[in-house]
């Protein structure tokens, strides 16, 4: 499953690595938008297949952040 950014923001922290097993609701990364830290959580359980972003990278609404397999 592809996890996309729901808003224009900057990547603040990436909390997982490729290969990590995550449960639904686990935090994957933290975005920063208008000085707020906004958690991006796993919508389903899975393994982190790839990570498309790194800290300080700007993302737009709809950009792919992480893929869970």
């Amino acid at each position: 499953m592809i996890v996309m950014s729901e808003m224009a923001a900057q990547v603040w922290r990436v909390l997982v690595e490729v290969g990590d097993e995550v449960a639904a609701g686990d935090r994957l990364l933290i975005l920063e938008s208008m000085k707020m830290e906004i958690d991006v959580v796993a919508p389903v359980a899975g393994r982190v297949g790839r990570i498309d972003v790194e800290p300080e990278q700007a993302v737009d609404e709809g950009d792919v952040l992480v893929e869970l397999v």
Binding site: M7, A8, A9, S33, M34, M36, E37
Partner: protein, 519 residues
Amino acid sequence: MGGWSVQLDELRRRIDLVAERGGPEGIARQRRNGKLVVTERIERLVDPGSFEALGQLRGQGVYDERGGLEGFTPLAQIDGFGRIDGRKVVVMAGDFTVRGGSASGAGGGLGQEPLPQERAIQWRIPYVRLLDSAGGSVRSFEELGRTYLPDGNVWTQYDVDLLSVVPVVSAVLGSVAGLPALHAALAHFNVMTRDTGQVFPGGPPVVREATGVEIGKEELGGHQIHTRVSGVIDNVAGSEDEAIAMIRRFLSYLPSSVHEVPERHEPRPPAADAVDLDDVVPRNPRATFRSHDLITALVDEDSFFEIAPGYGRARTVGLARIDGYPVGIMVNNPMHLGGATDVAAGDKVTRLINLCDTFHLPLIDLADEPGLMVGLDSERAGIERAGARLICAVIDSRMPWLTFVVRRLYGVGGQAHHRPRGMYRRYAWPSAAWGSMHILGGAAAAYRREIEAADDPEAKRAEIEARLLRIASPFRTAEATGQDIIAPSRSRAAAVEFVADAQRLLADQVGPPPNRYRP
């Protein structure tokens, strides 16, 4: 025994013919497509046994040489009176089983009965549209033997008038195109069914002809587009029953017309498991909270009805009750865009303010406002005009307005939480921070030369920011301006008092709104 049995038989026969709607095949197709039949929809919408049709016998008869009725096609629409929770409404319902719900082109001329929209205006009662029709059809040109000018405004003028007189709700329960697509939007609240509801001025075949683009109807005008991107439709429902439940719920907060105040329901305390408002704002100024938690702690239990949850998500808005009295409520949602007002959130708030002002609901505002959304996307979308419209709505509104400054209140976006006239009251929580702009970021701009000239610019910036943050305490403001600061846990009691006091003003504000409602 009178001599009218032949005529009474004909009346019964015509009522039966109307009840056949588009015939067994059309009805079977409707069911295969996962949709209810028009009569079933009406039965579910209104209180049992309360429906009374208007213009029931309309349609097109085919007559034999002796003038006997040979065949009959009903109008692709059913209109009538019904009751919702005991209160009378007018319903119009499109019927896709009859000619795809298209207008017949017949009718018109002298002696026409009033339109259902006119009845709603004259009776001063809400107007509900159950839409499942495609507007005009080229077929009608052939039946008429001519074309016609697109003078739908002969009818639509009443749809426009309705918006400033009675609550108007539209449900999109099928593929809705042409004038019915505008009817979807000419409402105070609208809902569409997931998968079976679509809205567009012209569907996929028209798009292909006009632009050469192949696109499916769901992709073109389904709920993903309209309840998340365009904001044309407020809410999405998983079923027609859910859509109907939302219509009934929405209307329960509003009066029957602008000439009355909303009804008070049985007061209830907030939910027992609601958060303690004294603990809801995190100490970390960059951490978020859940906007719904604030609402739940402030309003009567189970009384919040959210409007447009998928659109303009930086603001959570809806209707609720406080001590039984209906109110409009809005909260900045820091989990989306940090709660900033982008064009979508600004639109959503403008509509809520206009709704409250038109139907005499006090507005409860929980502000954690970082400002108007900045950035290129926001410029492309036209944030300044959206902001200007929002400010006009704020200034032109009259309904009593209560703001709690929960946390941030910055810039011109923050200004939109204040009305310097009419019954307006503002409390701040001790967690509040405000200014004409955010100190972090604002310092970098205002002290740029000083920072750049320093040996260590980063250290200089931190020093200036620390200096400014020291004077940002809300208590310093309170000393000078009289701004009241209260414990967050006192907010419910303050809101109960305010909403009760508001009733006298609201009673005085009934009647046609000074500003006509715009969708």
